[in-house]
Every structure is written in structure tokens, then in C-alpha cells.
Subunit: 143 residues, 2 copies
DNA sequence: CGATCATATGTAATAACATTACACATCGGT
DNA sequence: ACCGATGTGTAATGTTATTACATATGATCG
């Protein structure tokens, strides 16, 4: 019923670590979290991450060298996923947009490019953090 | 007349290295290329790269930790640039698409996200390399 | 059962990428 | 001559990822 059934111990531990986290984690942060579970070396984390990515349960955020649990592990019909990453609070929004996909597909076909993996990442500030920052600039108004 | 006029020696050297290269270069590759010009430390490269990116003369390819010279340093009207990166030959196609930009802009506005930098990178095989690979799979036909 | 093959694991070492910290230099404007 | 902004040189360190090699686990098949 659940894809996690097939996971090995190490893979399950890494996925749990990511699931429990607020935002994206670096491989070494995951390693530290799993010391008590017997993890000793980076490779243990990277190997689990590789498998989890292969299964579509985890995504790698290329622009910040970190990993997140997929928020919709059941939808495998879209290959192209975009991320909005808040640099302040670390929150990540995962979304897919068929028009976006189609638009890139058009370019790819026109140039006979054979895509393997596509990365779309917007870094910036989420609504909440952007608000908080505005407040700092012009304080004492929303009281 | 030319933006390069304002560049310092280090910045100019780094830009030349990238301009002369076939494809993207890592910071450490650039460092090695510039040893004879007096470069000794990574920071010299990274500082120059920072400035060149700021000036829009160089782009960073987040998904492969490498840098390329901008192919159209004069066009500053588009902020959103996409890259198609061939993993075989290393060739990089730089393109921008207003519909793509608009589509992401729609999402961003809807979620009141304040974007700082957007990364769009397609890794795969360019037409030539994809052809070459197909030839290996089913040989002896194009003679 | 035992041979074999694919997959997963443990560990150490090393490679590759990037930043911090501090001292000094250069140059334009007052 | 002084000041401030920007750039440079160098060493050390921090962070991210891979290579290499030995061992283990588990499924399949004769």
C-alpha cells in the first residue's frame, strides 16, 4: 500500500529525518541527526538519498545543496517540478505547472535536446518573511 | 563603450578564461588556468566571479557548480534565463522565454513570494550527442 | 543445500567546492 | 594628506560529494 514498505533501514531513517524536518536538510545535517541510529559516514546518507530520489520520495534542491521529502510522493505523472525556496525561514513550496512544462518542452523539441533532469528553483522570501522584513524597514504601523 | 573597460585585472582574466573556454568551468579549473597569471588562491577567482555575475557578464550553473560567460551581456531586460546543459560535450545553450517568465511570475504573485534569483536548468544531451549515442546503440547504418 | 548474482552496508580516505579572517594596496574625492 | 570604498594576497578552514575496498544480506536457481 505504501512505497516505504520496500525501503531498507537506512533509507527509511533518512526519509524520516527529512519528513520530520521543517525545511530542507543538507546531507551532513542528516548524518548528524542519525548518529544515534548508527550512521557514521556521509556515504550512508548519500546512498540512501540516491535511492529515495530514484523512487521519487525525495528531491534535491540544486541551488542550495539540500534535500527535501517530496510532498506528493504518489503523483508520478509529472516529471517537472518547481520549487520556491524561502531563504529566511527555509520553507519550500513544491509545485508543478503543465504550461511551464509545455513551454520548456517546446524549446527542447525545437532544439532536439534530450532532457534528463530539469531544475526550476526560485529563491527569495516567502510572503510571511517578506512581510516581516517590510515591517523592519518601516516599523510601528501595524499595531 | 564596453562594460569590460571597468573590469579590474583579476576580473578581466577570469572573464577571458570563461570566454575562451568551450563550455562551463569550475572555479578551481579557472584557478588552474590562471596560475601563470599570478593566481594562487580560490578566493581570487570567487571574488572576480561574484563581481562578474553582478555585472551580468557571467552566469553560475547551480546544478553543476560551474560558471559560463554570458552569451548576450548587453541584454539586461530579462532577468530570467534558462540553460540547456549537455552532460556529454559540456555545451550550454542560454535562452530566455517571456512566457516562461510570465508563468512563473503568475505563481509568484499568487503566493506573494518575493523572488531574488531564479534557476532554470535542463541537463541532458544536446542534439549532436544524442545522435552519437543512438548510433552506438544501433551501429552501422549511417555509412 | 550451496553457488551465484544483485543490492545494500561499513569505513576510511580523498576530492571538489566555497567561505572566513586578516593584513595590505589602490584609487577617487575632499 | 586624509578618508572611505573597493580590490587584492594569503592562509586556514568549512562544507559538500565521491572513490575505493571489504563485507553482508537476500533472492533465485540448479
Amino acid at each position: 500500500m505504501n512505497a516505504q514498505v520496500d525501503l531498507t533501514r537506512n533509507q527509511a531513517l533518512v526519509l524520516q529525518a527529512l519528513d520530520g524536518a521543517e525545511g530542507p536538510l543538507s546531507a551532513y545535517t542528516i548524518l548528524d541527526k542519525l548518529r544515534d541510529d548508527g550512521f557514521r559516514a556521509p556515504l550512508q546518507v548519500y546512498r540512501a538519498l540516491d535511492k529515495l530520489q530514484e523512487l521519487g520520495l525525495v528531491h534535491r534542491l540544486e541551488s542550495i545543496n539540500a534535500f527535501v521529502a517530496c510532498c506528493q510522493p504518489h503523483r508520478h505523472d509529472h516529471e517537472m517540478i518547481a520549487f520556491a525556496i524561502c531563504g529566511k525561514c527555509g520553507n519550500v513550496d513544491e509545485f508543478s505547472d503543465s504550461m511551464l512544462e509545455e513551454r520548456l518542452g517546446t524549446w527542447v523539441r525545437a532544439h532536439r535536446f534530450k532532457p534528463a533532469k530539469t531544475t526550476i528553483e526560485i529563491r527569495g522570501a516567502c510572503a510571511d518573511c517578506a512581510d516581516a522584513e517590510r515591517e523592519l524597514e518601516s516599523p510601528a504601523r501595524s499595531n
